[in-house]
Subunit: 145 residues, 2 copies
DNA sequence: TATACTTGTTTGCAACTTCAACTATTCTAC
DNA sequence: GTAGAATAGTTGAAGTTGCAAACAAGTATA
């Protein structure tokens, strides 16, 4: 018997969320390509400031990825002159991460390009639908954690 | 100037979709771990039948991944005895992919485990909300392609 | 203070995915 | 029918990520 039950509502949503993510991520990659950043690198830059340092681990947990991923990603960003590691004055194990001047520039350009693209793509839904969707997604998100 | 505009509605939704995807994918990985499959391997098995062959490229485009990814993924599945490559009678370049007996078993178990888990996780939303969400996601999805 | 436990970061290793180049076959257009 | 383009699949090299173990430094407990 090869017959399977038709996929449940929940599974359909799961698949839709998956496919939408793939499409969005692909779009992000294309847009960010102009800045030389991957989506994850972009996400890290987005969370940094020029003056105020952040610890690698904190960024890692925010982005749902393990510490070693951040270590190597920061290695790349640092090699590219976008960020700088500085020792944490309060905890000698930790590193504080700050944007360089160039990092600020690149980040701001990336944010501009990215949010324009996101606006454009999400414009498939009108304002009312977007509010509705956000509400549902927020509920789902907080339920999943 | 470090001030940035507060993120737009569209960007918020983008971020929510991203975070939800990460959480769902992580859950999938945990559930599927019992079957030894990655989410992508599972997705391939889901699209196969015992008797009816499918071409690698078709599966690849359905799953939004490049041909070489499918080649190696199928290498793994074939080494594990879950699928079998057979030459396409109509096109000597192509390979038809079929599930083995064991493949059917593993796939069915995986589908069972996976959809149970998905039901459980999506149950955060009640039925009405799920219908609403599906409608919005479908619209977004078809708009993004 | 000595001991064990936790935390922040890095490193080696393995797995997975992609890109580009390649072979073999099929399709198209003259 | 034949030259050139397109398609199916594979392969090698490179990039990204995660896991486990290491190390250093902080915290807690006796």
């Amino acid at each position: 018997m090869e017959m399977l039950d038709s996929p449940s509502l929940a599974c359909e949503q799961h698949r839709l969320l998956h496919d939408i993510y793939i499409l969005l991520d692909d779009g992000d990659r294309q847009v960010l390509d102009a800045t030389g950043l991957t989506p994850l690198e972009f996400a890290v830059l987005q969370r940094l400031h020029r003056d105020q340092g952040r610890r690698l681990t904190d960024i890692g947990t925010e982005l749902f990825c393990v510490k070693s991923t951040i270590t190597r990603l920061v290695d790349r960003l640092e090699a590219g002159g976008l960020v700088r590691r500085t020792p944490d004055p309060d905890d000698r194990r930790a590193q504080r991460l700050r944007l360089t001047t160039r990092g600020v520039l690149v980040r701001d350009q990336a944010i501009r390009l990215h949010s324009e693209a996101v606006e454009r793509r999400m414009a498939v839904l009108n304002n009312e639908e977007q509010f509705l969707l956000r509400g549902l997604l927020e509920k789902l998100h907080s339920g999943l954690r």
